[in-house]
Every structure is written in C-alpha cells, then in structure tokens.
C-alpha cells in the first residue's frame, strides 16, 4: 500500500478539481479540501491530476490540500451490512442522520461497518490448516444467516492463532504464516469484479411471484432483466414488489437518482413485512444503497458499483442474490454530467462514447458462479430504465438490450388503463425461456410449454382481431373469434394483471399454472367443439 501524499488545489469547476499532486494512480481515492471531501482520480496528466469530487463542492477554495490515499474507492464487506441503508459511497445514512440531523452535510465518516459491535465467531479451520483466497475460516451468526468469514481474494497461507467466541470486527480472527492478519471484514475496489472459480450457465429461475414474468418472460438465476418505461408506468412499484417477494437469499436494492419519499416508504414497508421463508422482517435480508436525485451526482455514479460489489460479496459467500437498480438511466445521466464536466467528446445524445462498454461490463458482473471455495452463488439483476419521453430508441435502453437477457417493456397505454404490472406482452421477451423450460417441466408441470404457447397464441390472435373489432364491433365477429376475445380479456384481467397492494402481489408458480390452465380451458373446449 502506498503512503499518503499531499498537494494543492489549482483549479475548480463544479465538482471537477485539478491538483498539482502527481504520482497518483487512476481511480485512486483522494481526500479534497479542508472538509476532507471524498474524491476519485479520473485523469492523470504530466503536471497534475484531475479529480472528481463526490460531495457538494460549495466553499472549496484554491490552494486547499488534496491527499492521495493510496487506495481505490472501495466497498467494505463483512457482517453487519444487512438491513442498513447506505448512500452511494457506502456511508451509513442512519449514522449520518445522527451526526448531521435531517439534512446531509459533507462530513467524514469513519467506517461503513460497526467495528465495535460484538459478534460470536465460530471457526471452521484450525491452526496449521492451509487456506487460500475465498476459503471459509468460520462464520458469524447474523440474523437469519450464518455469515461465513472468507479469506480475502489474493491472500493465502497457513492459519495461526485462530480465535473463537466473542469478537469485534477490529480484532484479528487469525494470522497467516506470512504475517497477514485476517479480520472479520475486508474492502474491495468497487470498480473491479470480484474473482470466482468459474461461471456456470443458468438453469433455474428467480421466482418473482409476478405471473407475467414467471410464466411468459422468466428471469434466470444469474441473468439480467431490464424494465424500461416512461414515468407513471410503475417501474418502481414493480421493482419493489419483486424485492419483497423474489425467492432469493439476499436483496440489494439500489435507489439510484430517484425519489426520497419512495425510499422512506420502502424502509417502512420492509420493516413491517415478513419474509415467509424466515419469518423475519424483509429488511433483514436487504441492503439498501440510496442516492436520491438531489444527492450529489458523482456519488450517484458510484452507487451502482457499491451495490454490485455488495452483491458479488454475498454471491461469494454462496448466497443467491438479487440486485435491483432503480434506475440505470439516472446512473447514465450522472456519467454524462461527469463526462461533460471533464470536457470529453460526446457521443449519442451527449452520453460519453464509453456508455455502452461501461454498461455491458456492469451487466457482466451478474452471473451464477462456482465460488473460490467451491460453493454455488448467484447474482441476478433487474434494472429499470427511464427513457426520456418513453422513447425506447435512446442509447441507454439500446445498449442494455444488447447485454441483458430479458426485456420487460412497460407500456404507457396499459398504465393509463390501470393495468399493472404494465408489461407489454407483445413486445417483451426473455432469452431464458428455453433454458428454463426443463426446470419448469420437472418442478411444476409437464405442460408448461404447451400452456405458454396457448396463452401466447390467444394474445396474438386478439391483437390482430382487435382492429377488425373496432370497426365491426364484437357482434360482427364470428363465434370462434368472439371466444378468443373473451378468453383474451380473461387472461389480461385475471392472469396478467396483478394487484401489488393485495395478497395477490405474490403468486406461487403452481398457482400461476393453475390459473392459466383454467382460464384457457374454455378456449380449448370451444376450439375442439368447432373441429
């Protein structure tokens, strides 16, 4: 690790600061000005360095000190993350509220984790054992979970002096023969994907409890779905409903550049609601990363990296993790603002030309993997997109379409007729439906595919009949076609629509199949009678 170096501010333009300090590394973390604002190195030059400040730069002056901290902007990983709400730079918002009251002022916080809290540590290795990257040396009981303590990636050696029982995160759990101390937590640079043994191809779905998703456009464990939709189409409600009900171990919810009131509502609900699998409040399986629209823009850019690093950490512990980000467009806009303040050449719609590559490398951090210790862990993502004017031809939606596996298009017309979730069944798709077919067949019903085809067939027919009906009226249709229209209407209102505010918010896959089977039975009967 490098030592701390100090220099001075030589120019400031908004949150972009230039310093005479040299010898820094790209993406190194810096402390800027007398208020110790957090910043990151974004460009190196011969006689100076350009920094991006992650907090409100008001009052920053020339000649104030800049310190290079010798480390990258990193995420702190260990027990005590669950049920906490962090900001984009992984500062605990509850601790921040204790210190600065209801409003956020730039202030320095020591650690993202409570290092003084006592935990009970149960070792799984003994002195003399050889351990390497990712191996579990023991675990700490945290709420419903046994939180394994792993050897940080890149470390290995022979265990000495392993401790047991009451410990705090500051204490050394064990020493390795090469002198490395292993603590209960470690940090990981947020922009670097965490290592794993190998990626495996997804075979199982994430059950979201949303009929239209699970049945028509399923998401695989380790896959990525995107939800683009204009305002008022119910992106946030859909993401939050999935966050509540999805059958995963850990949920990471990134509120990226969205409304503050939504976040307070989310916390209240998650504290009240129970996770049916553990009977504990949903909050205890959730980590929130929140950078609302009025919080500093640069920290918004960092927030999704904080979130994905947290997700990868739990994946490495052998959990199934779901990362929900609302919304990726706000992240892209933050990237655009930063890029524009660095005076980079803009690409399409002012976004930097590296938008697509940043997005695809972010999405690639999802996956189902064999971890370094040989467990199976997964990180799935559901990302909402807010296209300007509800126009899907814009760069963020288009880049994500190329990298994600499922596209759940939210439709303003459906939302205006209060059909929720307003997922358009004609335009949406899932590339996972074929690889998941076997799973559904084995676990639920052999006729999954048949039912699915039948449902799609009816909806397709309805679409083409709709225009005719508008002219001739339903009376003008043939009996057979009238049946299609009635059944399609039942599918739409009784199956595809799902009220997020009632018990119907979560629907078991078995029930999903039963409903669609009974709804489409009439159609089948009508069809055979005709034949």
């Amino acid at each position: 690790m490098k030592t701390v170096t100090t220099g001075k501010i030589i120019s400031i333009s908004g949150a972009t600061v230039r310093t005479d300090l040299t010898g820094l590394t790209l993406f190194e973390r810096v402390s800027v000005g007398e208020q110790n604002l957090t910043g990151e190195v974004v460009r190196l030059e011969k006689d100076g360095t350009v920094l991006q400040v992650y907090e409100d730069p008001s009052g920053l002056g020339l000649d104030e000190p800049v310190k290079g901290l010798g480390v990258s902007l990193a995420t702190t990983l260990g027990p005590g993350l669950l049920s906490v709400m962090f900001d984009g730079l992984q500062r605990r918002l509850d601790v921040l509220a204790d210190k600065t009251g209801s409003f956020i002022y730039p202030i320095h916080l020591d650690s993202s984790l409570d290092l003084k809290k006592e935990w009970s540590f149960i070792p799984m290795v003994k002195d003399g054992d050889i351990v390497s990257s990712g191996d579990k040396i023991g675990y700490i009981d945290e709420g419903p979970f046994q939180h394994p303590i792993i050897v940080p990636p890149g470390t290995s050696g022979m265990v000495e002096n392993i401790s047991q029982g009451g410990i705090t995160l500051e204490e050394t759990l064990c020493k390795l023969d090469n002198g490395t101390e292993i603590l209960g937590y470690h940090s990981w640079p947020m922009r670097v994907p965490r290592p794993y043994k190998k990626k495996i191809s997804p075979k199982e779905p994430v059950i979201t409890g949303q009929r239209i998703i699970d049945f028509l456009f399923p998401l695989a464990r380790g896959g990525t779905s995107i939800i683009p939709g204009g305002f008022g189409t119910g992106k946030t409600i859909l993401e939050q409903t999935i966050a509540k009900h999805a059958d995963v171990d850990i949920v990471i919810y990134a509120g990226c550049g969205e409304r503050g009131n939504e976040m307070s509502e989310l916390i209240e609900e998650f504290l009240e609601l129970e996770d049916p699998r553990t009977n504990l409040p949903l909050m205890e399986r959730t980590v929130l990363v929140v950078n609302t629209s009025n919080m500093p823009v640069a920290a918004r850019e960092a927030s999704i990296y904080t979130a994905v690093t947290l997700g990868e950490y739990y994946r490495d512990l052998g959990f199934h993790v779901l990362l929900l980000a609302d919304s990726i467009s706000r992240w892209a806009e933050a990237l655009r603002e930063i890029s524009s303040s660095l005076e980079e050449m803009p690409g399409e719609e002012g976004y930097p030309t590296y938008l697509a590559s940043r997005l695809s490398s972010f999405v690639e951090r999802a996956g189902i993997v064999e971890t370094l210790s040989g467990d199976i862990g997964s990180l799935s993502m559901i990302l909402s997109v807010s296209p300007p004017g509800g126009d899907f031809t814009e760069p963020v939606t288009q880049s994500l379409l190329r990298t994600s596996g499922a596209f759940l298009m939210l439709d303003t017309t459906l939302a205006n007729s209060r059909h929720f979730p307003a997922i358009n069944w004609m335009q949406s798709y899932s590339l996972y439906k074929n690889i998941l077919e076997d799973y559904f067949k084995e676990n639920f019903s052999g006729d999954w595919q048949t039912l699915r085809n039948r449902c799609r067939e009816i909806l397709h027919k309805e679409e083409s009949l709709k225009e005719i009906m508008e002219i001739v009226g339903i009376e003008g249709l043939q009996e057979q076609d009238r049946l299609v229209m009635t059944v399609a209407e039942n599918i739409r209102s009784g199956f595809l629509a799902q009220n997020a505010y009632t018990d119907d918010a979560f629907c078991q896959p078995q029930k999903t199949l039963d409903i669609i089977r009974s709804v489409t039975e009439v159609y089948l009967k009508g069809k055979t009678r005709k034949a």
């Binding site: 120019s11 409100d56 509220a97 008022g232 009131n261 807010s386 126009d391 007729s417």
Partner: protein, 451 residues
Amino acid sequence: MRLAEHKYRTTSRIAGQLLHVEDVHSARIGEVVKVIGPDNIELEGEILEVTKGNVLIQLFGETRGLNLENADIIFTDTIRQVPLSKDILGRRLNGSFKPIDGLPMFLASEWRPARGYPINPVSRLRPEEFIETGISAIDGLNTLVKGQKLPIFSCAGLPAKELVAQILQNAKLRESSKSFAVIFVALGLTFHEYSFYLKALQDIESEFAAIINMADDPVMERLMAPRFALTAAEYLAFDHDMDILVLVTDMTNYCDALREISNARKELPGRRGYPGYMYSDLASLYERAGRIRDSKGSITMIPVITMPEDDITHPIPDLTGYITEGQIVLSRELHQQGVFPPIDVLPSLSRLMQKGIGDERTREDHRDLANQLYKHYAKGRELKKLEAIVGRDGMAEPDQLILDFAAEFENQFVHQGTHARSIYKTLDMGLEILQTFDLVSDSFLEKQSKE
C-alpha cells in the same frame, strides 16, 4: 479562509451574465461576489469556476452598462445565504430576495445557504395526510397529500391559473392545520398573470409570502427565486412546524432560463438544447418538498408547467414527471367542451394517493369508488373513439350506457365550476353517477349493505 473582503479591477471578459476576472489571489467555489460598475450599478454574483488566478463569475441581475475598465469586483468570502425569519410572511420580494412591497427588509434571525442540503432519506417521513383541495377530479381520483409534490401540466391558453387560484382558496388540511401558509413563487410571469395571482392570494385567509420574478426581470434571478423560496419554506416548515404550500409558476420559464444560462456558459446542450443536468437541477428543487421526522411541519409543492406544443414528452414535463409524485394533466379537449376545471383524469396520477385515503383519512369506500369511476370512464373514452367510426346506433346497449356515463362524469363530476366541493360531497356524487347508470359493482354493494 481570508475572513475579509478584497477588491479587484482585473476583469478580462464580460459575456452576458458571465464575467471573467484575472489574477485573483484566492477564491472559493460558490463565493458571493459584488460588482460595482459605472453609474453605481451594483450587482451580485457567484463564483462558478476557479483556474489558478482566473475566476469565472455568474452575475445575477442586469449586466447592461458594465465595462471592463471600471468594474470593481469585491470578493466577500461568504457563501450565498438567505436571511430567514417568520416575518417573511406577508411580504413580497424579488428574485434577488429584496423587498418590493415598499417596506424595509425584515430582520434575519438566521442565515442559510440558498442551495439547501439534501434531506437524508432515512429522516423522511412518509406523506400520508389528506389535503382537501375542493376539486372533485383531484380529491376523488388524484388525491393530494401533505408533503407531496404534484405538478399541474397545462397547455398554453388553458385555465391553469384559475385552477391554482381555486386550489389556493379551498386548500385546507383535513384537521385544519393551525399554522398553514403559502409561499408563492412567480417565475417569468407577465403583469397580467401576476396581478391575477396576487389578487387570488389576497383573497385567501391564510398567510402568504411571494417571491416574484417578472417576465422582464433578469433571467438569472429566475433560477435563484425558487431556491430562496424553498429555503424559506424549509425554515418555516421544519423550524417552526408550519404546513407550507409552495406554489411555483411557471416552471417552463425556469427551464428556459436554465437553458439560456447553460448556453452562455458554453455547456453541451442535451435534448432540445436543455442542459444534460436538467434532471438533477429540477430534482434539487422538487425533492425539497416532504416531511421529516424531527418536525411536525411539511412542505407541499404544486409547480405549474405549460407543456410546449401540448407535448407531454417534451423534456420539461417529462423530467418533471420522473421526479414528482404524479401529475394533474389539463386537457384542451375538455376545455373546449366548456368543462372547468378541464382535468383529464386518465393521464393524471397521484402516486401517494393510496396512503392518503380510506377509513380514517377520507372515507372507507374512497379507494373502491375511485377505481370504479376510473375504470368505467377509461372504458367510456375508448368507446368514444369507436363511436366516431360506427356511430352511436351501431353500438351495443351496454356500450351506449358507458358512453352516457362518461359524458355525465365529465359534465357533472369533473365540471364543477368555481365552487368547492367537500370530499364527502365528491364521493357521494361519484357514487350517485355510478348508480344512475347502474354501474356499481356487486362487491361494493355487498360491503355497503353489511355496514
């Protein structure tokens, strides 16, 4: 930190509202600068950029008459602050926060930065208390709650200001909050509009303060006025436990000012020339509405937006809709039919409605009724399109019924003229219209008969 003012005469460039000064010894971002020009022109500005000794200053106010040689630039070593006091109520100030009602400036009991600080999401309290606006289309179907930000999307020529005036006259909190006040922010208003609003404000019983930026006032002040107003609102709401309604009109002028200033700064234009950071900038205003745990007060915000070309996908209404908690959309078609207020309930939405209605807030059957009215009206509007093709006679009887319902809904429920309706009256009327056409759902009737 210098803790003293210092003066320069090294202006190297003036372009519109931007001023470059050279060889400045030390300067801070956001520092307030005073400029004294020939003929005693006195202007204030704020430091935007510092590069070595060169400083870029954004000026507020009219820059006509300034020259390079005779401008004294005074660096004050302070960040822009707003003087705050309860005495602001009853006053009228301009976009530079100077009184324009002929009275002297009030004494400040506190100073705070105009930009404000973001509310910590964990400290927010969920908005859930019903505000009665007296307008059926809002109270019944798009309910406003305390701490919400609910914009009005209007089109040029539609009676948005009459609607706002009516809300002002009727708006009372359910438990008739004792300390309720209005802060009115006029952005780029014409004299005609301004005098209309002022009269409306004087007619209401509640106290109010007005921050006024007229159509011919400096553009830069248009960007500052809402920030001053919201800083004052935060002070009154969260330090003095008051319920504040902030009314901002017209945000379209604000966004155009933002575009103008951004262009002068030679920033990269985004969609339709508006800067790429417009979303964050608008959020820094809208997100200041809300409630917090430490205080009984609240800030409710009603911004008015005139949609250019009646286009809801234009960047101004679009970005606003992504930040605010719903929208009230006015319709040209309803206006032409003579409906007042011409609120189109279909694209209108209140995201916080679910929490603000029901048993202890409004009435138990509110949600159920609202859903039924909405559902049938949506159906009716769809059938209207069909009617245009096949004619009324070509339609089935039940469809004709729905059509009649939709017309009745527009002409009775939405069209209420200028008098206020209580929430109970609104709900009763909704039920009555449903009953007339025999559209009340069976489950609803069952529930009613049980009670």
